[in-house]
């Protein structure tokens, strides 16, 4: 599994006529089993990049390829979890998780077994037959994650998946995502603007500047010793965490400063 973005550019037409350049010359790669986080100030185009990987938007220039095949549109090899809740409210949790499998005609017995496995993975077994209306925000996001994983994508894309959650639920979800990454070996490309979240989750951080969005830094949190830590406080107390958080904050502030000056 190898995701390659080469010289991606994106310009949007403006209402006044003319165009605005949102993203310029973005290149990076994501390798197998990697948790890669796209981090940057708001307006840097990180969500647009993720949507282009998902095939929901098209780059104006450059190419995106998964295992050497150029991306032409959405496909089940790139599953996406959105910030907004996307549990289909007319389906139970189980039916939601089975949705992708049903689309391609996976036999019922296999479908049930696979759904049960992933529902268990996100700790929702007790709610398997409930409708989304009784679920909390965090539980709805767990349904979305289970539904995407059950569909066996090559790569899991997450667009600020915990952005709408309260602080406590958010770090539970971050830890759950890490343990899922460990247990399934799934490759994850995630977008966030939360520095703490990015350092805790990421094997590698791709930091984007804005106007136009472009790769400003490739950061590997070396202090994590190449390991994934399942508890957030373990990472926060490691030597090197505070320094990295400070450095990234400075990068963010430079962006804001450039904005204020420009």
């Amino acid at each position: 599994m190898r995701l390659q973005l080469e010289n991606i550019g994106k310009t949007f037409p403006e209402s006044k006529g003319g165009t605005v350049e949102a993203i310029r010359d973005v290149s990076f790669e994501v390798g197998a089993n990697e948790v890669c986080v796209l981090l940057g100030p708001s307006g840097c185009g990180k969500s647009t990049i993720l949507r282009m990987v998902a095939g929901l938007d098209r780059p104006t220039s450059g190419t995106i390829a998964l295992d050497g095949r150029a991306i032409e549109g959405p496909g089940r090899d790139r599953g996406m979890v959105f910030q907004a809740y996307t549990s289909f409210d007319w389906l139970t949790v189980r039916q939601n998780v089975e949705y992708g499998l049903r689309l391609r005609g996976v036999p019922a017995a296999e479908r049930h077994a696979r759904a049960a496995h992933f529902i268990d993975l996100v700790h929702l077994t007790k709610f398997a037959d409930a409708y989304p209306k009784v679920l909390s925000g965090g539980m709805k996001q767990r349904v979305a994650i289970a539904r995407t994983l059950a569909n066996e994508p090559e790569i899991l894309l997450m667009d600020e998946p915990f952005g709408a959650l309260d602080a406590e639920t958010r770090w539970h979800m971050q830890e759950l995502s890490i343990s899922i990454a460990e247990e399934t070996g799934k490759t994850i490309l995630m977008v966030t603007h939360d520095i703490e979240e990015s350092i805790f989750m990421a094997d590698r951080i791709v930091f984007l500047s804005r106007h136009p969005g472009t790769v400003a830094a490739n950061i590997v949190p070396a202090f994590k010793q190449g390991k994934r830590w399942r508890r957030k406080e373990e990472v926060l107390e490691l030597d090197g965490y505070a320094e990295l958080e400070r450095d990234i904050m400075r990068l963010m502030r430079q962006q804001a400063g450039a904005e204020a000056a420009g």
Binding site: A54, G55, M80, F82, A84, Y99, L103, Y131, L157
Partner: protein, 270 residues
């Protein structure tokens, strides 16, 4: 603030009142209405020939309901509603859904539909009479025209409200265009389609009465026009009551159906 709420809820802005009080107030308004009506008749303020009292109307309603003719009229009216509404729905619901799903179809049909909506359906009555004669044709056609264009646009608007994230999620799960339409857009919009149908059924009753008053020998509207010829004001008013009750019954049935068909809807989120 909370003190004044608990002491004088009836005159405090936006203060909630108990359900029992709410029902009592609603009933009180009706009682007052009938009281004033009956009083106006009893004191001779209005001529009973033009406005019979509520008790007289109630008595007439009871007498009419005991006759077969009245039930045949009611049956004729209900049948017209059912047939015309089914025809309008069969066309409007699928068309509205595809118009709400594909921008090209919206661009093609919408200006046409929008223009028809602003033509009052009853203005077609003379030409409908010429085309279809005096049988069921012109009545069904009027009800159909009165409903179909509005229903298409309502369904289209509801379909456009289906959240983009639902559609994009289904696409990233490997859904084809047809699958997304069938397994996401249709189930997502269905509850609102039922709402739109409920709204348009009420409109349908309005056109029914117009159709039956203008050109019909049976149906509730025709019965009322017959009664007018003999100055049977009480029968006219009994007809109005029956139409009101039937409309209310339809509305209630749709509400119950909505609750039974879509148990998964989060009412608190509305």
């Amino acid at each position: 603030m909370s003190q004044s709420n608990s002491r004088r809820p009836w005159i405090t802005l936006r203060a909630p009142i108990s359900r029992r009080n709410a029902i009592a107030l609603g009933v009180a308004c009706w009682v007052l209405f009938f009281l004033i009506w009956q009083l106006a008749v009893s004191t001779g303020l209005v001529t009973e020939l033009l406005l019979p009292g509520p008790l007289k109307v109630l008595g007439t309603l009871g007498r009419l309901l005991a006759t077969l003719d009245f039930w045949i009229d009611i049956g004729a009216s209900v049948l017209r509603i059912l047939v015309s509404f089914a025809m309008a729905s069969v066309i409007a619901v699928p068309l509205g859904i595809v118009m709400g799903s594909f921008r090209a179809l919206e661009a093609f049909f919408n200006p046409f539909m929008a223009a028809w909506r602003y033509l009052p359906a009853p203005s077609f009555i003379p030409v409908l009479l010429m085309w279809f004669g005096t049988g069921e044709g012109p009545k069904i056609a009027l009800l159909f025209i009165g409903v179909v264009f509005f229903l298409v646009v309502l369904v289209m608007d509801y379909t456009k409200q289906v959240r983009t994230e639902f559609i994009e999620t289904a696409m990233t799960l490997g859904g084809t265009r047809g699958q997304v339409l069938r397994t996401v857009i249709v189930p997502a919009v269905l509850p609102n389609v039922v709402v739109a149908m409920r709204q348009m059924l009420a409109v349908s009753w309005t056109y029914l009465v117009i159709a039956e008053i203008v050109a019909s020998t049976n149906g509730i509207g025709a019965m009322m026009m017959r009664a007018r010829r003999f100055l049977h004001t009480d029968e006219i008013m009994a007809g109005i009551v029956v139409i009101g009750m039937l409309g209310l019954l339809c509305d209630t049935l749709f509400r119950i159906a909505h609750r039974l068909l879509f148990p998964y809807i989060d009412e608190s989120a509305r």
